[in-house]
């Protein structure tokens, strides 16, 4: 049976990321495969969980066309990319090393996710896969990013009630990578503030807090009732699709991303924010039974970033041509004190 596309994790090391990647594929109704890496070696099975399917190198290189999601020179922005015809294989790479060179060489195209941040230049691998799948599987490109609304139109973002500390951390990492310097967090499930030390450490690591510079403001969602404009981005509730909803509008606009594992995005948003709240639907083809907060949040943040537009283009720095007198260091032999005394 032919599939519309497939997702491959190349050399993933972290079992949690492998599971999240499988959920990303499941949200879009496509199969997932793992090649190499510790996550594919079965360590994530942990008894109760079935192992994820794997693929060897020869088979993977035969699954063409291959689309690599990698931030390499010349890669096309994912917002304007089209999937090649056929049954493409979308590959995401190892958490630190990225995609292996053999797959990159075999790839028909490379796409990248434009990230405005200068301090965080990557997303969590599963979040990156979800964002790439959201734009690549939509059928038609979402449109260019150069003529966006501009940075002054960046809205405030409220993460509402995440139920897992790592999911919250990964969502915050995405926010930092997409250029937010401050995010509001309604931590009603105590996963970020006032949590256990071990959870706290994991959550901060997932958020890359040590270098993101992101400020997380703890708020209660109902404090925002009556704000100028509130848009709740949900998977389950009715509303216009995300890409057709204006998500930008400056600090007067608040985009709320509820964790729908814990909160019903439809009824709860009305009860918290009042009847005037707008809703935007995250179009996911096969979300029933599969939901991860980091994936949904990253898609919403990516779409806001697309609507804001990319950073102004700067020409590459020209090469310098230093003129120098170059020397070769003097040859020298090392001798031990014993050799010296013998001498």
């Amino acid at each position: 049976m032919s599939v519309r596309a497939r997702l491959v994790g190349d050399g993933l090391d972290h079992p949690g990321n492998a599971r999240a990647l499988a959920d990303a594929a499941s949200m879009f109704g496509i199969p997932v495969l793992l090649r190499g890496g510790r996550a594919a070696a079965g360590r994530h099975t942990n008894g109760a969980i079935s192992p994820l399917p794997t693929v060897d190198t020869a088979t993977l290189l035969g699954l063409r066309p291959i689309v690599a999601v990698e931030n390499v020179h010349g890669a096309e922005p994912v917002f304007t990319s089209r999937l090649p015809a056929g049954s493409p294989t979308i590959v995401v790479g190892n958490e630190r090393r990225g995609i292996a060179s053999d797959v990159l060489r075999a790839a028909l195209t490379c796409v990248r996710i434009p990230l405005p941040s200068r301090s965080i230049n990557t997303l969590n691998v599963a979040a990156a896969a979800a964002v790439a799948l959201y734009y690549l599987l939509r059928g038609s490109p979402a449109g260019g990013t150069r003529r966006g609304a501009g940075p002054a139109q960046r809205p405030a973002v409220l993460l509402l009630g995440p139920s897992d500390h790592v999911e919250a951390g990964s969502a915050l990492r995405s926010a930092a990578a997409f250029g937010w310097r401050a995010v509001q967090l309604d931590d009603r499930n105590n996963v970020w503030f006032g949590t256990r030390r071990s959870q706290r450490t994991e959550a901060r690591a997932a958020a890359r807090s040590h270098r993101s510079g992101l400020r997380v403001h703890g708020v209660r969602a109902d404090e925002h009732a009556g704000s100028a404009r509130i848009v709740v981005a949900t998977v389950h509730a009715d509303g216009p699709p995300l890409h057709r909803t204006k998500l930008v509008g400056g600090a007067g606009t608040l985009v709320v991303i509820p964790d729908e594992q814990a909160i019903d995005g439809g009824t709860t948003s009305s009860s918290i924010f009042g009847p005037g709240v707008e809703r935007a639907r995250i179009d996911l083809p096969a979300v029933a039974g599969t939901y991860r907060y980091r994936l949904a949040a990253s898609i919403v943040l990516a779409e806001i970033s697309r609507q804001l537009g990319s950073r102004p283009h700067r020409a590459a720095r020209r090469p310098r041509y230093p003129s120098a007198v170059s020397t070769i260091e003097a040859d020298a032999d090392l001798v031990t004190p014993a050799e010296l005394s013998t001498y």
Binding site: R318, R320, Y321, V325, S326, T327, A330
Partner: protein, 162 residues
């Protein structure tokens, strides 16, 4: 112009640079935004930095130690030939290299193998148009800049200047 530190000199002064540029005229002046004289900086490699094109149209001449120059180790082949061609007396002995200059030879070396070499790079970049794209391989870029500097030196000598 940054004054040279004790023990260092700027072998060519501003008046000499202006005179040289005026001699070659618009061909070298077009797009040239300035020539700076700066104190030497560490360029991360063994040896001495003579000059650089720090940004489009901006050439920099660095201060040099008072001659004779002493280096630990030996000169690489390209640098050795370049110095000898410019009139330096190069001696290698005991893991050291000594390079002796007269004041005039060092001044001309800085003006032609330093400044005009960088202006050669600038002209190549300027003729290629805007965009910051790679024009040619670095080795070819260097060879053309060297050829330009040598042609300038010949033209200057033919007129019997200084």
């Amino acid at each position: 112009m940054g004054p040279a530190r004790p023990g260092f000199v700027h072998p060519a002064d501003g008046a000499q640079v202006r005179r040289l540029l005026a001699f070659f005229g618009p061909r070298v002046l077009y797009g040239l935004r300035g020539v700076e004289m700066r104190q030497a900086v560490d360029h991360g490699r063994p040896g001495m930095l003579l000059a650089a094109l720090t940004q489009p149209g901006q050439a920099v001449l660095y201060e040099q130690p008072r001659p004779p120059w002493l280096f630990a180790g030996r000169l690489d082949e390209v640098s050795h030939q370049r110095l000898v061609r410019a009139g330096a007396l190069v001696r290698e002995a005991g893991g050291l290299t000594r390079v002796a200059w007269t004041a005039e030879e060092l001044r001309d070396f800085m003006l032609f193998d330093g400044l005009m070499h960088e202006i050669g790079h600038h002209i190549i970049e300027n003729n290629a148009g805007d965009g910051g794209a790679r024009v040619m391989r670095t080795a070819d870029h260097e060879a053309r800049a060297d050829a330009f500097a040598a042609a300038c030196r010949r033209a200057w000598k033919a007129e019997g200047h200084w």
